[in-house]
């Protein structure tokens, strides 16, 4: 099909080529920034209780050895995560305060937008020693997905409610200080093949998806066995 023989070919090809160029250009504009943002940024600011070795998770009882290591991958906006928190949250908190387990929280942002705002805020609260409190409050009052409820001012107010009065916290929220860290957590989760939230691992092994997420008894049993 040699288009050159078509008398109107030159003009047709111009329109056609223009459309191709625009479509391919738009696709690249969508693709390139996403790929770049998916690179782990080792220079990103990280909260005090976080280390790259623990997969950028927010870690409690880091110094303990010989206790079960619980890793929790979750998204603040995911309803199943709120359900798991309501079932096992209190017990996990108790394990942390009584130093019976080492616990790492990985705040993924699968659901986009407000999950990222919440994950950043959680890191800001971690710097103030209030991560667990913020975590509990958010999960217990989870709004529907990306409904516009979770804004900077929401988290500033929430901070006051949790007894955080430092100006650094507000600044951390409003400047989205841990944006790079939030990306790093997501990237680490994707490299570790975390394919649903919540995902809970004990000593590196996922708990039974059929039972341990929905029942405190089964979850406790899984910890005992570890």
């Amino acid at each position: 099909m040699s288009k050159a023989k078509n008398p109107a070919g030159g003009k047709d090809n111009f329109t056609r080529n223009l459309v191709i160029a625009v479509v391919v250009g738009v696709a690249l504009i969508m693709l390139v920034p996403t790929i770049l943002s998916k690179q782990t940024d080792t220079s990103a600011a990280i909260p005090a209780s976080v280390s790259a070795e623990d997969g950028y998770g927010i870690v409690f009882n880091k110094e303990l050895t010989g206790v079960p290591f619980i890793e929790i991958y979750e998204d603040f906006q995911c309803p199943a995560c709120a359900r798991f928190e309501s079932i096992a949250g209190e017990y996990i908190e108790e394990l942390i305060t009584t130093k019976k387990a080492k616990v790492a929280f990985h705040t993924l942002s699968f659901l986009g937008g407000e999950s990222q705002i919440a994950a950043n805020a959680a890191a800001c609260a971690a710097d103030e020693g209030k991560f667990l409190q913020l975590h509990k409050t958010l999960m217990a009052n989870q709004p529907s997905e990306n409904s516009g409820a979770w804004t900077s001012s929401y988290f500033s107010t929430l901070g006051l409610g949790l007894g955080i009065s430092s100006p650094e916290y507000d600044k951390c929220i409003s400047t989205n200080k841990y944006k790079g860290w939030v990306n790093n957590v997501a990237e680490e989760g994707s490299q570790r093949n975390i394919n649903s939230t919540p995902t809970v691992l004990i000593n590196g092994k996922e708990i039974d998806r059929d039972t341990a997420y929905a029942s405190l008894g089964d979850f406790m049993l899984a910890i005992e066995k570890a």
Partner: protein, 165 residues
């Protein structure tokens, strides 16, 4: 019969183009702002090494949008249809192997994806839908000149078409 198809072909082609293009465009558009979920959906097929699955999860949505847009506009229809059909063919293989392996996943075709409860899998419907789309793509590769497209039918083909068919 042949003459009837001659009249209908540009219109059938238009329907095929808009259906295949519309599905591709929608599939890409619904995933483009959720890259983490798109990556997860590809990973959960357990078909590719994790790092490659993660790249594919990022590349797939804009590619689907681009192919969809080309088909809707009717630009380089034959090439776009061939690539779109090839994509659907790969999806069929991926879904079939997930089914055969006994994975419980959502295809993640239009966003979502990842593990689901066993009774919520839709493998057969997903495969049948994609087979239909492969068929439309094949039709467009065979008859790429359709109504309301930017692609113009070259004159020598228009003149010769009586003999060709």
């Amino acid at each position: 019969m042949k003459n009837k198809h001659l009249v209908l072909q540009p219109w059938l082609g238009l329907i095929a183009r808009l259906t295949l293009g519309g599905v591709l465009f929608a599939a890409g558009y619904l995933k483009i702002d959720k890259p983490d979920i798109s990556q997860m959906a590809v990973r959960s097929y357990e078909m590719l090494p994790i790092s490659i699955a993660n790249i594919l999860g990022l590349v797939l949505p804009p590619v689907e949008i681009a192919l969809g847009a080309l088909l809707i506009l009717g630009v380089v229809t034959r090439v776009a249809a061939a690539l779109g059909g090839f994509t659907m063919f790969i999806f069929i293989i991926a879904i079939a192997q997930a089914w055969a392996k006994g994975l419980n996943i959502d295809c993640g075709c239009f966003g979502g994806g990842g593990s689901v409860a066993a009774e919520d899998t839709r493998y057969l419907q997903e495969i049948l839908r994609d087979l239909g789309l492969v068929f439309l793509a094949a039709y467009l590769v065979r008859y790429p000149f359709t109504k309301f497209s930017i692609d113009k039918k070259p004159r020598e083909i228009s003149e010769a078409i009586g003999d060709v068919e």
